[in-house]
Symmetry: none
Subunit: 131 residues, 4 copies
DNA sequence: GTGGTCTAGACCACT
DNA sequence: GTGGTCTAGACCACG
């Protein structure tokens, strides 16, 4: 089974899901720097979607400097795990700031915000130091 | 100038933007319980979009119990500010949990998460008291 | 307070609701044979709806032989309670046959049908003789 | 010939007729779980009505959890016959209770009610065993 | 071709 | 003029 996954029911564009999934797997060390990505055709087949969509994702990944397409050879991963983890962190941090701004706007306080978030972190930081 | 605003450039569906904008303004007390919403045509005209899109938004608002439409009369706001704020809070809490889960998954710790979020809350709560 | 009632939120046409409401009140003996109906204008005012709608209802009532309009005088009730009760019974019987046919079609048995209906009749016929 | 039927002369909304017809055919086992619905355009063409109306029906069916639509793929039936039959039964039971309440209100007794209904059930259950 | 959103504009019942 | 349904047809992302 492949390591790249998509969900057709999500509203997020499929090619974006692929981009994110690829970066996530590189960050996890599942996909390695200097190794080849599956071919457009192979991945399209594996995910059961159209090659055009894969192509769009690969083009975007190349634009972001994550992979590099070599004519007749395939697409090679040129970013290392740390780099993409950094990209992912920055993306998530932006999402955090956005939802925090929404929460602040809706009158949710900082402590309530952290308490709500705490449940997602398994390390005992579930807000109990608030009680 | 009207109180309901949309941004055609956003990827969020227009009718959803309207639904959220209406709920936000009710929550802020700008739109009041028992008062009438602008008519479908009037709002369509004001926002420069098609009446059908407004209709779709109003239908959804009625489905959510926020307004009640009567043919030939207009659409009356039946939810009070607290109710709508509660709906909005629940929505935002869900978003917080989601982004927190993403962050945890990406290896961002609870404290980093709260520190990142802290900037959105004006009160100097940048996460220090968590450490 | 008037005896004729309508519900603007229902999907049933308003003039039909008025027709039914009038017949129901005649059947109950609240509106009496040979007495006058409220004037179109008065009833429109009382119900807060447009006189055209009342006029439509009165026209239909006249067509059914329930009232008779006399120019410059008003509309007089010409059907007695028994007559309209009969009309109403026939209408309801038709509705019963229709819903029974739907139920039979959906595979609901006669006994289940009667048990479900029993709860609406306060007289102890709530299906317990089935148990 | 298709299995989904509508009647333009009925007052019931077309998209509602479609929703009900689809659920009925699923309940009958004519439309099967995990099979695809006809495409929006195909059904629109077959029934001679506008694709938007079909879309509205499909959207409602998805909201009810009967089908699941995937852009570019089609709409797959996800509810099984039993589930849909259950939904239909609950709907019909509500209708039974409503008409029974009307009947009781009009002075029709439980036994008369069941006798009237009996004719719709073919098995000689005309209410005799109730007396 | 497929679903989904949106525009444009019609008709209806009712105000 | 008001909400609501429907028609006609456009564009988009995807197959």
């Amino acid at each position: 089974m492949g390591v790249i996954s998509i969900d057709l029911r999500k509203r997020q564009l499929i090619y974006e899901q692929i981009v994110e999934s690829v970066k996530e797997q590189i960050g996890r060390g599942v996909l390695l720097e200097n190794s080849y990505m599956p071919s457009v055709r192979a991945l399209a087949n594996e995910l059961g979607i159209n090659p055009n969509t894969i192509q769009k994702a690969y083009t975007e990944l190349e634009r972001q400097g994550v992979i590099q397409s070599v004519s007749g050879r395939g697409s090679i991963i040129v970013a290392n795990a740390d780099t993409v983890r950094g990209m992912r962190h920055e993306q998530i941090n932006a999402a955090i700031r956005k939802v925090a701004a929404d929460a602040a706007d809706a009158g949710i306080g900082y402590e309530d915000f952290c308490r709500e978030a705490g449940t997602a972190f398994g390390t005992g930081n579930d807000g109990k130091e608030k009680s």
